[in-house]
Symmetry: D2
Subunit: 504 residues, 4 copies
């Protein structure tokens, strides 16, 4: 989403810093923008937060930050561009972040657009010093009325340090008359519209909150005598924590070492969890709705095999995210599963500042087709989604160059035709292949023998809604497929965006 | 000075970052805390600001920052730990800071005290986005009522991002009702007490202001069609700018490419410029009051020779700051001047993380006595000041070890017995040698044959006050020598500091 | 293998340099020590070499080097610790390595043993200046008489710059009376015993050579008008080169832009290619013996399923190297394949300098078990090999902690009971689990319900020897399984090593 | 001097590495190429070597290296680009260099010429492993028959790792039949022509040697029970060592913890110490010939005042090297000494990669004229030498721009008209101002009111030869002034250089 100040006449501040590498290949995926994690009641919180963020790294690779509090030395903070393992695992760093309570945040990587690069001032958690003490917050999601809030706050004398929509929350808290920080946070979040899973901390309290529709995930865990909040359960596993339950839509929990208090500060609403978390964002070993995401994806593959069968010799995943659905497709169809495309494990994120010649070789740096295996075969390629279609075309070419007899694409999600305004990095609508082409046009564009997407009903069935999608009251947010926005993206609407429909 | 939030119950935030090396040797000097520079109306302001800050590097070595504005791309900013030459001279950096207007700041190095280290969030210039546009400010000096201002601002919902007293100014500006930024700055500065020379910028205006007493320096220059503000004239020389005049005490100038407007927003007061700028802070090739600082220092040496003559074979400066006074002493006394102590030019600031053994060798790393020259001689050592006395003792030992027959210390300033609260990094009062010892006790402590300081009257004469110090209305701020504070250090007084006298 | 000079009384030189991170997890694999690549007749050789080395990165991650030659500017060289993508992909680096001919080398990562760390002086290619011009060589393999050669050369006045056995070759070449560099290389290699695939270059010639038994791989490719030599075919794919053929055992090729000359400088011998290249070292998308390594590994899995069936619910690979064999096992047995263990893609090699607490969490940082999937299931875990057994134990614990009902290990290679002296980094014999335990002891030690290795005959069948292993004249080097060494490891024998048998 | 391989048809190897900054300002000085230091019999030699090299940093700023030996762990070595204080002072580095014996080397900085940049492989000490153990050597000077030696050695099979002439010594030692390393070193040095002060070490012995004419300096000191060798006495002072004596011309000392053995392996010859060490190279606080270099330089200034008096208001040194001579000139002439040109202490070596605009401002970055002091004055500028004259012109312009009424240059050395081939970095002859212009032409070229050099006789008098230069048998090497070369520069003569005269 465009940062708030770009759309106003406000002075614009560009920071110069070392740029992290862009991520050419993943350009062609929707991307989760953040992961959040917090812990209280352990001997050295930073250790746990670092591990938790490492497990959530797939939710944001560009930057990360940790804030801790120690009773004697106060708040400590470190924010860095780059991966958790490169910044937050050294003994020296952990020593600088002492104390039994801490929160952390990993932040997305925007692709290519130079003006939207993360700057260190935008890296969360954000910290504010109030008259009753300090607080830090980390936010996963997106505030859909951030522009209006920001304009109002600036007019009243607040000074924003970042271009992030999330900073509104801490300024609203600073201006609240509430006596206690959790009260101030409730007051602030009631003014905020959009999707948010927030993890916050004071000197002694760990606070978690999900927006009324519960669009983004947040789970509660227990480790020894301490408590954990995390975007996903895979981050509980890494620290040996027990998964207790998901935080409910609209719930705020205030956790001290003595236990968990639950509040419901918002008007009740029907939950609309992001269905794309099942398709791609969440890690396969995380649990959502009582089963592993891996199993759900295998079921998506099975549904896809039922809906869109084809005769072929091999089912190959586009690695790595297409693998579970490909396995499901293979199990359902009886066509053998094979790793026809091999990933270079030493790719890391990308070549740093590659030469023109290297850049032009594109996707080959990261993937290679197993020529001897593919040659003369009819191949089904299973991928999780098609966004711009650029990667799909390159992969198709690679597979044909390797001598495949036929190439059939099967996609584990419906056509992505609408941008997300709830915390996911989406291209503008006109760059979404499915926004401008019919299914057949897409097939021709990609140059494959067949191209089939799972239906929206099929996807709902795979995630556990036996009757498919209830169009009167869908169980999930599926705006990126349906164009039906459960929260009005008001800043964007003011800028001219036209949703298919919005609900209030 | 203690950062404001240390004295309050506020949450304290400690940032982790790469620590710059401490500066063991200069530990024993008072240190100017900042230098400021600004330019408007040139083709690439950042180039000029980088050069200007390089020339002002002696006023602050720990960190530096530059903000520029370009009509098309808005504000640009870079703030870095370390020296100007290491951070702000590459073509890549200058390209990131485009535009015809810019300001910059170099920041002091505190010595040793781990809790007072500069953090990147404390590096100026500070930037604020107001409803009518952005502004950046750089501040040399110290706000003596920063604690009360900060407490009030926080209670009203301002969020401070730094521990710096200077940040109050930008928050006061944000809350002002003024229609234009210069109006807001006037309003803000009227609420501020203390010593300040401020350089600020909007999208088109360069603004300079000195506090009513003009404690810290600020000069105006002209380069081609552009205008320059700088802490000292040496930074005009480096860019080939013409020195126009000093900004007056209590004056605010608003400069566009069309010219300089002058305002006097404060109640008129008699100027009290910092006399220590003449003794040590300013560079010898800068001009103050119409003559070079070098000549003034030579005259201090002459006065000292008149006040405190002694029979000896050689007059040797403690390099480099004692050199001009030693030359003056030699010229007045007729005793030959000699470089008896040699400085290692490759010392830079200090050894980075030296081993215990290397650390124990102390001052020898930076200086060496010219043994063959000194042996058997009666030596007069001329230094600019004695603060803790630790360096003086080591130098005396080196000179005696080299075989000197007698060692006579002559100090180009009166005993430093009081801390400065106007933008100079001073040890606590009890660590100042002259605060706890008589002159004879100091001589015994240092173990020298004689020790003489110039008198306060002698110093005034050397800086051009022919009748010495007018104790009813001194022409300079000399609080560090006299304990008479021309601006009440109100935050410190609340914390229990007792000045000899204060003036309001 | 112990570097030659450690075993002698020679002066030992230890270089201090920035240490790369160790690789705790992969500690428990045999490791290929090197990959080599060369190209001639292209416009900018360095670009191709960089890409080729990137594709060969799995053969050596600790360091890499490139040498090129340009007719006008002579030889150019860069050698670096770390990954190819971090060192050799920037435009700046490629510009420093101009010319139409170049060779490169990636070097292994030794684990943990501080005394065996790679030093920059040991990074290949090695360069020597002879009277008729310079030459550079890159070597994959190990010279088994390096100690005696080195001692002799030193006694005659050669000065070794590295601790590498490969440096002997260049010194032997320097002392040769041969008129041309290829002649000198032939002469040098005839004095050398052991396993070697060498890529070398002069100003105009690219030279490749395999030892008489052809233990290590080397292939020839064509790209445009240019020629390529590479350890594996996957590096031909990345640059779009055509795979021409494998260099034969005992063959030397001398390549100019005009074509390829073939020589056979050694006494003819029956080829004994390393069978472990099929099991683990080579990339699955490389071709060996006319088919993809992936297919061979799938067949190993099928053989394993025939030899060692078991009733179970899921077949899970230990990622990533166990995947093809697990797929084969699943296809053969009909038990569903599932990704029960998930790899963290952001792990890179390891946490850099992790804290004690993080380190103690061990393998969890890199892998996570899919709890919801595994719970209550009987699981077959397929891994490529068991070396020390440390990783296998941890994985078994993770799987049991996740609630698996039974755990059955199936290993896609026979028990690894003997060290390799032909260019593979193996632990000392006593640290190999299979050298000290029977199969049942290993099962108990690992704590699993069953543990089965493929038989040596089964492995031979899977790699294409229909009748299994011909014990009179095996088609492969399988010393690590059989203890039968086709080349006597003479330096090691002098140091007391006892092979089961050796062949000369 | 051109590195040997540039002039031959040999393959040329260019290493890519991080380039250190060039040194634009000092471009216009002759530059000592090296400093050497060694110590034996102390608890941790590396500490002492690091300090010694720091004190010798003025003799070479581009790179440095240390080798130590520990009885248990063997030889240890670290070589780095950059300053000693940045590379060799951390506890971590010192720990990597254990043992009671060590040697070190600092290496010159060549200016501008991209092809002559120091590469890490050229950084000394050089190490060689012989059959009886290892040895390391560090060399100050230049071998005048290096090309022929190198060609011969390469033809016999030696492989050179560097482009340095000094590497010949270690190869000659490797090929010697001598039983002990000191014997081999004697044999090697007898084959070498040129100027050399060598410090070397074996496992237990520290060895020092000066060439027969003793062109470059080397002194012996004692620290506790240990012994020290150093290029200059200032490096004894920094570690608290006692200065024992200079090593004599043609002397070799072999030092163990038990004492110093002295040998004279060469044919006796009259000493010809480099007179420029007195003028510029050595530090003013070092002792040469029984007195401080500072005093000698003051005497040079006095001689200059006698030979070339002029009426003026101020005597100003060109900092820092002109200062002692300027003081001497002032004392002799009675004209007041003043620091009219001020040096920026934060310059370090230079701006790293400065922008075009910054680069064009040239010398101003490093120096500033004290305008207010200079204005309207007749100024005598005292500098140590004129090489290309480029700096002198800039300084003259600065002084005139500042309003000086007259500018008189007085140079503390005769015109530099001939290149040095004995270990000093000199421009080619045609770039030396004095090689192509008469004194008056130089005055006009520099644009000053007068320009006077000290006479060669005057210089000899100042360094203690009361009767001036004995032209039949001069006491010093003064080839750079006289063109009379005491050692034939045979490699250069073969390349066409014509000396005025050479002595054999």
């Amino acid at each position: 989403m465009t940062p708030p100040n770009a759309a106003t006449g406000y002075g614009k501040l560009t920071l110069s810093h070392q740029m992290p590498p862009a991520h050419p290949f993943d350009d062609d995926k929707l991307k989760e923008e953040c992961g959040v994690f917090g812990v209280v009641g352990v001997s050295n919180a930073a250790n746990f937060v670092a591990l938790g963020l490492h497990a959530l790294q797939h939710r944001g690779q560009e930057a990360g930050g940790i804030v801790t509090h120690h009773p004697e030395t106060g708040f400590h903070q470190a924010r860095r561009m780059g991966l958790v393992r490169d910044n937050f695992t050294s003994a020296e760093m952990i020593e600088r972040l002492p104390g039994p309570i801490g929160i952390g945040h990993v932040r997305y990587s925007t692709a290519g657009n130079k003006d939207q690069r993360t700057e260190i001032r935008d890296v969360q958690p954000f910290f504010g010093e109030f008259s009753m003490g300090g607080a830090a917050i980390a936010h996963n999601g997106n505030i859909t009325n951030a522009l209006s809030l920001r304009r109002e706050l600036v007019e009243r004398g607040s000074i924003f340090q970042s271009s992030s929509d999330s900073e509104c929350i801490i300024h609203l808290m600073a201006r609240s008359m509430g006596q206690h920080i959790p009260d101030r946070m409730e007051e602030a979040l009631r003014k905020v519209e959009g999707a948010f899973s927030v993890v916050a901390m004071t000197r002694t309290k760990l606070i978690g909150c999900r927006d009324p529709l519960g669009v983004r995930p947040l789970v509660l865990g227990k480790v020894g005598d301490g408590w954990v909040l995390s975007s996903e359960t895979c981050a509980l596993d890494i620290i040996g924590a027990e998964f207790i339950r998901e935080i409910e839509a609209g719930e705020m929990v205030v956790i001290t070492k003595d236990g968990v208090e639950s509040h419901f500060p918002f008007r009740p609403a029907k939950s609309r969890f992001c269905i794309f978390e099942h398709v791609y964002f969440s890690r396969p070993d995380s649990q959502l709705g009582g089963r592993s995401v891996y199993e759900t994806r295998e079921d998506i593959g099975r549904e896809l095999a039922k809906e869109a069968p084809v005769e072929a010799d091999l089912v190959c995943p586009v690695p790595d995210s297409g693998t579970p659905a490909a396995i499901g497709y293979s199990l359902q169809s009886g066509i053998p599963f094979a790793m026809g495309i091999v990933r270079n494990n030493y790719m890391g994120r990308t070549f740093i500042e590659p030469t023109e010649q290297i850049r032009n070789m594109g996707v080959l740096l990261k993937l290679n087709v197993n020529k001897a295996l593919i040659k003369g075969k009819r191949v089904i390629l299973v991928d999780d989604s098609v966004v711009r279609g650029t990667t799909s075309r390159k992969i198709k070419e690679m597979v044909l160059d390797a001598g495949a007899a036929e190439v059939h694409f099967r996609i584990a999600s419906p056509p992505t035709a609408w941008p997300c305004f709830y915390g996911v990095d989406t291209p503008e609508r006109e760059k979404l292949l499915a926004a401008t082409m019919t299914a057949e046009e897409m097939r021709v564009h990609l140059g494959v023998d067949s191209l089939k997407f799972i239906s929206l009903d099929g996807l709902y069935r795979a995630v556990g809604e036996k009757n498919g999608r209830d169009s009167a009251s869908p169980a999930y947010c599926d705006a990126c497929f349906s164009g039906e926005y459960p929260i009005p993206p008001s800043d964007m609407i003011k800028q001219g965006f036209k949703a298919k429909s919005t609900v209030k």
